[in-house]
């Protein structure tokens, strides 16, 4: 509620002060707030064609002037003269994808009133608009009309805030048109029209009366020659009658959400709970919500209880009465299987029939929560522990909607419809199985069938069984490399667009011809660098590596010890904090490696050239230099920014050959031999301390060099030189971690790996004991490593590797963190068996390393550390983002391998060795090491389900196979399976299918 106080006072020249008075209520208390509000006359209109505003500019603190963005000759269309667009809030909120697209919407002015409304309604859309304004490519400008003395409007008594804002926007349009016709340079340019885009009919009417040219989105798009194609991209809920989905407005399928006041009240007196919905990947009608106070999540069962919540939405839930508490279901439910026959044009309300409202009083509800606590804490063996408290969603705090990838589900369409070009409804099945299908309307159904498409969700009305969305763009044919790659990048939220202009503007002007300066006394910073160009440095990487992060050298010191240097690309020399380049790197957080593609964290110029420690040229680097004795004990360590010149870039194999060739006795090779010897000792020390040597079935896809068809899958091999590099990188990371922690006790960027909970290993140990009479000890990592070494089956050399793969899955994931968030003993890296660890050695492709570089540079007094890396909250956000991006990058990489492995198997069906790793009463899970795939083989495909006997204690399943011969399989058994790849109609994805031979 706001009461405007229309008292204005002239302050100094061009500045008028007024008061904004409003009443704010928070937690039920009302308080009056008075804020000063200054109105001015020196806000430029930012049009390049304006002759007045160039003269009223004021500099910013760095002496720069605002940049004029709007073109002097904006777009003209048939029937519409040269024009600037002014966008209304509803257009931005609903059609942001369209606004961002590169074909329409140029020279756009966003009034401050609109920007603030957008910011309050959706922060992500606000940031998207801000980045459009920043990038300059589409010539977007923000005009602060609420601070302009001719545009500011006072709120009338009895006028709602919305109406006042609408009036302010219209006032701005009027002023802007007048301003342009007064001050535009008419000698050189044709007159410019202001067009107000607004989807609210009422507002348009008023605008017309006030002499403002206003159009709806549809009307505006109609001016374009390709209007019909563009219309598909328009979201689904403006006031155009053709787009009206909900014909049956009276039918209500879902319970209504509670009012905000009721939600706030309920959260406050603890009858309602807030949390994030986690929908089961196996059952789209079952979700869980973790809430504070309860140790286990609440179960949400069924469409009605989920009440339109999406996986990942932040929701408010209410407990259900005790008689409705249930076990989590053990069924697999997939949307298309259950609701395959829903008609995209209908809304059925059959779920509504048995919807009896059960009312419980407030007190009962409070008792319920004690019950819930009691049930959750009950003895794990008793029957009641299986029953979980259930809840229903009563409000949505924040939607987790983003662009989704999917495909039109073929049985939602009438094939006869394809002939006509009119708008049709259809369902889109999303790639993420935990999400419901989405209804869209499109004119281009014929083209879109069999394509991967991106859609955006617009709304989920109460009377519609499915959410409604609109088509955004097509990625290409299903199963084509381009479409699948882009789809998985989108699904895992990997930013893969080319770097924007303002990011690229941060790169050195010299481009590829940038060189290390000749004069080493040029400035204060370069004087602090150590000239290490006389050291015989070389790099060892995978073949074809272009982004060389690290290089090494070793030389004998006069006292008989070794000087060993690890030199890391000096990325932070180019990536300075608080630049668009740094912001982009921080948000990408990691480079993503797919089978055939790499998505870089930093622009190519840095990654593959200026930072890359290429041979034969001078490069800036950040060096860690140790003095090691012959047993690889650290005598001394020194950190310095430096200049190096790499003598050679080896691949692992080349390096190995060079070391093995006894005839090579030059200094460089001898240095490498020394490194190898030292690395073997380092590794031994690490293993003695209890470092783990775990395995994951890492596979590599070979591409046919001519056609780029994937032709073969190979499990990755390791050479001694691999571990040479690895050992020194580990040593550098550990040394740096200690140094930055000693300087920044609260905010050092570190990496930890927690102890695995013993319960994770219970099942594995039981299986080992029964089947192999072996045991994995868990007292500490040393015991674990030793016991893993002892688990050897002489008859099966692969068994040990298999066990390591299975153990890996019982481990926790390592994570980045800020030193202030944990106590020192918790810094421990379990897998490496060290007390403290960080990532320092790959700043080209990981943002953690960039931060570590800056912190180390500050710790050695090279330059001061930016405030964002000293602020605990900001650092926490950085660490969280890095962890998330890192995880997604791993998922995307794995999905990419999975896709290619599927393509390889499509061409060669074969029989392979596999291992049984899990056993159920109705099937077995088999892992095929050669392809790194695993799959469930259901009992029905093994043989006669009725004959099956499941021996749970011995992990054995016996059954009569198809030939009616009795067969027994047990866990860890080696089996031969037929591997083929099948196309899953529902997800349109290939997956491996195994058949026991």
């Amino acid at each position: 509620m706001a009461i405007e106080n229309p008292s204005k006072r002239l302050f100094t020249n061009g500045l008028v002060v007024t008061q904004k008075v409003f009443v704010r209520s928070r937690n039920g208390d009302a308080s009056k707030v008075v804020r000063e509000h200054y109105l001015r006359d020196d806000i430029p209109c930012l049009s390049k064609g304006c002759t007045y505003c160039q003269n009223i500019l004021k500099p910013d603190p760095e002496g720069n002037f605002v940049h004029f963005t709007l073109s002097a000759t904006p777009l003209s269309l048939e029937g519409l003269a040269h024009h600037y667009l002014v966008l209304d809030t509803n257009i931005i909120l609903h059609a942001i994808d369209l606004i961002e697209s590169s074909s329409i919407f140029f020279d756009v002015v966003i009034p401050q009133t609109v920007l603030e409304e957008v910011r309050n309604r959706s922060f992500p859309i606000y940031t998207r608009i801000r980045s459009l304004v920043r990038s300059d490519e589409k010539r977007f400008a923000v005009f602060h009309n609420d601070f302009h003395q001719d545009c500011y409007v006072y709120r009338n008594p009895s006028e709602s805030m919305n109406d006042r804002n609408d009036r302010a926007i219209r006032q701005f349009c009027q002023w802007f048109q007048l301003h342009l016709s007064t001050y535009q340079d008419k000698d050189h340019y044709s007159p410019i029209q202001v067009v107000f885009l607004c989807n609210d009919r009422d507002s348009r009417e008023k605008a017309k009366k006030e002499g403002i040219l206003s159009k709806s989105l549809f009307e505006y798009i109609d001016y374009f020659p390709n209007a019909n194609d563009l219309k598909d991209l328009i979201p689904n809920y403006d006031d155009e009658p053709s787009n009206d989905f909900s014909k049956n407005k009276h039918q209500i399928t879902y319970p209504e959400y509670y009012s905000t006041a009721k939600l706030m009240g309920g959260l406050k007196n603890a009858t309602l709970y807030q949390g994030i919905v986690n929908v089961s990947p196996y059952n789209f009608l079952e979700g869980q919500v973790s809430v504070p106070n309860l140790s286990k999540p609440l179960l949400i069962l069924g469409r009605e209880s989920l009440n339109r919540a999406f996986n990942g939405d932040q929701v408010v839930v209410e407990l259900l009465p005790k008689e409705k508490w249930k076990k989590p279901s053990s069924l697999i439910m997939e949307d298309d299987v259950v609701n395959a026959n829903d008609n995209a044009d209908d809304d059925d309300s059959e779920d509504n029939k048995n919807n009896k409202t059960i009312s419980i009083s407030e007190t009962e509800r409070k008792l319920l929560i004690y019950e819930a606590l009691k049930t959750q804490n009950a003895d794990p063996n008793s029957e009641s522990s299986v029953i979980l408290p259930t809840a229903k969603v009563v409000g949505i705090v924040k939607r987790n909607w983003r662009p989704f990838v999917g495909q039109i589900s073929s049985h939602s369409i009438d094939l006869n419809d394809l002939k006509s070009n009119s708008t049709k409804s259809c369902f889109v099945a999303l790639m993420d199985k935990s999400l419901p299908k989405v209804r869209i309307r499109t004119r281009r159904m014929k083209e879109l069938i069999g394509k991967r498409i991106v859609i955006s969700i617009d709304s989920w009305p109460i009377n519609s069984k499915y959410p409604q969305g609109h088509f955004v763009r097509s990625l290409g044919e299903i199963e084509s490399v381009e479409a699948e790659t882009e789809a998985l990048l989108l699904e895992y939220g990997v930013e893969y667009k080319p770097f924007s202009k303002n990011v690229l503007d941060c790169l050195p002007k010299e481009g590829h011809s940038w060189k290390v300066p000749q004069d080493l006394n040029a400035d204060e910073l370069i004087k602090k660098r150590k000239d290490l160009r006389d050291r015989l440095v070389c790099s060892i990487d995978p073949p074809g590596c272009v982004d060389i992060d690290d290089a090494l050298h070793a030389r004998r010191l006069p006292n008989g010890n070794w000087e060993v240097g690890v030199h890391i690309a000096d990325v932070t020399h180019f990536v300075k904090p608080n630049t668009p380049l740094d912001a982009e790197g921080a948000s990408r957080a990691t480079s993503v490696y797919l089978v055939d593609k790499r998505i870089d964290m930093l622009p190519l110029l840095l990654g593959t050239d200026l930072c890359s420690l290429k041979p034969y040229v001078d490069r800036f680097s950040f060096s860690v230099i140790w003095e090691l004795d012959d047993d690889a004990n650290i005598i001394n360590v020194d950190y310095t920014k430096s200049i190096i010149k790499s003598r050679e870039a080896f691949s692992y194999e080349q390096a190995q050959l060079r070391i093995d060739d006894k005839n090579n006795q030059d200094e460089l090779t001898n240095g490498m031999r020394a490194l190898l010897q030292l690395s073997i000792k380092l590794k031994q020390k690490r293993l003695d301390a209890g470092a783990l040597n775990l395995a994951s079935p890492e596979v590599k896809v070979h591409m046919d060099s001519e056609t780029y068809d994937p032709s073969e899958v190979e499990v990755k091999k390791l050479l001694a030189t691999n571990s040479l590099v690895e050992e020194f990188m580990l040593l550098a990371n550990i040394s740096v971690a200690r140094k930055i922690y000693s300087s920044f006790e609260q905010t050092a960027m570190l990496r930890r790996h927690g102890d695995p909970p013993a319960t994770n290993f219970t099942l594995l140990n039981q299986m080992l004991k029964v089947r192999k009479n072996m045991h994995i000890s868990l007292e500490n990592s040393k015991a674990l490593a030793d016991s893993l070494d002892n688990c050897v089956d002489p008859k099966d050399p692969y068994f040990n590797t298999l066990l390591r793969i299975m153990s890996t899955r019982c481990m926790l994931a390592a994570e980045y963190f800020i030193s202030g968030s944990f106590s020192y003993p918790e810094f421990k890296h379990y897998g490496l068996a060290v007390d403290i660890y960080t990532h320092f050695t790959s700043p080209i492709r990981r943002y953690c390393d960039v931060v570590a570089h800056r912190q180390l540079a500050a710790a050695i007094g090279y330059e001061s550390l930016d405030i964002i890396h000293r602020d605990k909250n900001k650092m926490d956000l950085i660490a969280k983002n890095i962890n998330k991006r890192h995880r997604n990058a791993q998922f995307a990489g794995r999905a990419s391998i999975e896709y290619y492995v599927g393509q390889v198997m499509k061409n060669n069906e074969s029989s392979e060795e596999g291992y049984v790793i899990k056993i159920f009463s109705n099937g077995i899970v088999v892992l095929v090491p050669k392809f790194g795939v695993e799959s469930l083989i259901k009992l029905e495909s093994l043989g006669d389900p009725n004959s099956a006997v499941f021996d749970e204690d011995n992990f054995e399943l016996s059954f009569k196979n198809k030939k009616n011969v009795k067969r027994t399989v047990a866990v860890f058994d080696r089996v031969i399976v037929q591997v083929k790849s099948v196309f899953d109609e529902r997800t349109s994805k290939r997956k491996a299918e195994l058949v026991l031979v």
């Binding site: 002060v17 008075v34 910013d60 603190p61 605002v66 608080n578």
Partner: protein, 252 residues
């Protein structure tokens, strides 16, 4: 998260000012000519502060008697109704550590400024009450005391003027913060003697990068000078009025 942009890319702040603009400042002296020896009322934006100076007077008790100079006391009163948002901010209650600390700082600032040795064996009492808060609280208090002392005619070396300055995005200095900006930005408060560059007081309670300090100091000093000029104008204007009215009285 705040609902508005603290400093927009177009260079405007939440209340429409640019980075180096101070708020509307109005002040009066001699507001309470009868009840005290010197008084002032100062308003910058919506922050309103009133000060009354008593003295030099005979000390109330012997313990506050110094042989060679006057004894200076500062009493600060920040009532709860003055808070921007009365429900959420109750940090500064009377006699809280923060107030006591502030009083000591104020004594330290002004005992170097007032020529105390001119008034041996007396006491000077400064009472300040904050009527409304909207940022820049401490600078407003310092400015108001400075004005009241001038009104009282107690001899002092020069004006003391104060302003605060924040840092946006570790990069842009922002002068004279209001309440909303103080919530979001790290800032320092500085007090300057006259038109010099002598810093008599500097208060920094958040983290500021060291390399930005010089920039902020330069801007704060010029801001303080501007405030000094504004106060000086007001003092001269009201002095003229008073002289005029005294002359009129003497004619009558």
């Amino acid at each position: 998260m705040s609902r508005q942009e603290i400093y927009s890319p177009e260079g405007l702040r939440v209340d429409g000012r640019r980075w180096n603009e101070i708020r509307r400042l109005s002040c009066k002296i001699n507001t309470h000519p009868i009840s005290c020896d010197g008084s002032s009322y100062l308003q910058i934006g919506n922050t309103k502060v009133m000060t009354m100076v008593h003295g030099p007077i005979e000390p109330k008790n012997k313990s506050s008697l110094l042989q060679d100079r006057a004894y200076l006391t500062v009493n600060l009163n920040i009532p709860s109704f003055s808070f921007f948002n009365a429900t959420t901010n109750k940090k500064l209650s009377k006699n809280s550590k923060k107030i006591l600390e502030l009083q000591v700082s104020l004594v330290n600032i002004f005992q170097d400024l007032i020529i105390l040795k001119n008034y041996p064996r007396t006491q000077i009492i400064i009472n300040t009450i904050v009527l409304n808060q909207d940022g820049s609280l401490i600078s407003s208090i310092i400015n108001s005391i400075s004005l009241a002392l001038i009104d009282s005619g107690i001899s002092m070396y020069d004006y003391i003027s104060s302003v605060n300055c924040g840092l946006f995005n570790s990069k842009f200095p922002i002068l004279d913060l209001n309440y909303l900006e103080e919530l979001d930005l790290p800032f320092l408060t500085i007090a300057i003697i006259g038109k010099s560059e002598n810093v008599s007081f500097l208060l920094l309670e958040n983290n500021l990068p060291l390399d930005a300090l010089e920039k902020i100091l330069a801007i704060s000093i010029s801001g303080s000078h501007r405030i000094k000029d504004l106060m000086d104008n007001q003092v001269k204007k009201s002095s003229k009025l008073r002289i005029k009215s005294i002359n009129e009285q003497s004619i009558n």
